[in-house]
Symmetry: none
Subunit: 151 residues, 2 copies
Amino acid sequence: MFRGIHSVNMDAKGRLAIPAKFRELLNGASEGQLVITIDPVARCLAVYPLPQWEEIQAKIEKLPSLNPNAKRMQRLFIGHASDCELDANGRFLIPPPLRAYASLEKKLVLLGQGQKVEIWSDELWQSQLTSMLEDSDGMESLPEEMQSLSF
Amino acid sequence: MFRGIHSVNMDAKGRLAIPAKFRELLNGASEGQLVITIDPVARCLAVYPLPQWEEIQAKIEKLPSLNPNAKRMQRLFIGHASDCELDANGRFLIPPPLRAYASLEKKLVLLGQGQKVEIWSDELWQSQLTSMLEDSDGMESLPEEMQSLSF
DNA sequence: GCTAATTGTGGGTTTTTGTGGGTTATATGA
DNA sequence: TCATATAACCCACAAAAACCCACAATTAGC
């Protein structure tokens, strides 16, 4: 299970070093093979260990092709998915089109999110974070399942 | 069950020594393995023994991914959760991003809160305490479940 | 009130992790 | 077929965190 936040730098060659904690999980689950794609909703990227990704792709492919939203989801999500492999130092290259989608420059933020890791530009993440924290209404309009959560 | 308040100092390396009482509880529940994350509502951190945290994470991950508030909760809560382990002296390192979130400097306050321990900057806690005490109206506008509590 | 044990604190050392850059291979297009 | 650009591979150094040990302070027991 991925969790936690890490600040990392993308180097001049567009390589991203995965922090040691995430690397262990990726190596364990898939010998360093991963899939990176875009988040269709937010301007960030999502990284999955290969096996988990294949399950997700299978589910999405089964959606009815004639439904425009399903088609859209397939184009965005599957269409942008690239296979990557970690090098000897635990780094991989982020494909340039994905870099552009998420406005990635030097400073990035990695967010562990259970089965996937999200990649944000530092700048975008900071503003996202600020608005999430300011918007205190959010907590009152939570889905029912959550109202009863205590933690 | 954690309870009680403790003042502690974070050392120059960002390490925090858990008071003996809490340490016993953590060691018993999880051999010193713990998870620290932010409180999405207040500017403080929350520490859980690993097993309890995993239950909570599982619940939160099951929330619908397309609901924006659920997503927000996942990013804040799971996104900031880091695994830590107590060293031989019962200390652990607070990840720098979390330190920043809760404005932690040297003097901290630990607050036992049942299944979790809250970590506050001493300064923030003092002002929080003052405002909680001043705002005595609060007690009259409690949710129904509480109106009937006797203690 | 003294001693002993436990707890809290500081800092040095070693190992791991992160970062940069050089070199070789591979692909692309002229 | 060759030239150029890009990506994979490899090595070396810098930084940080984990580990370990030793001492100070506090508490408890006698």
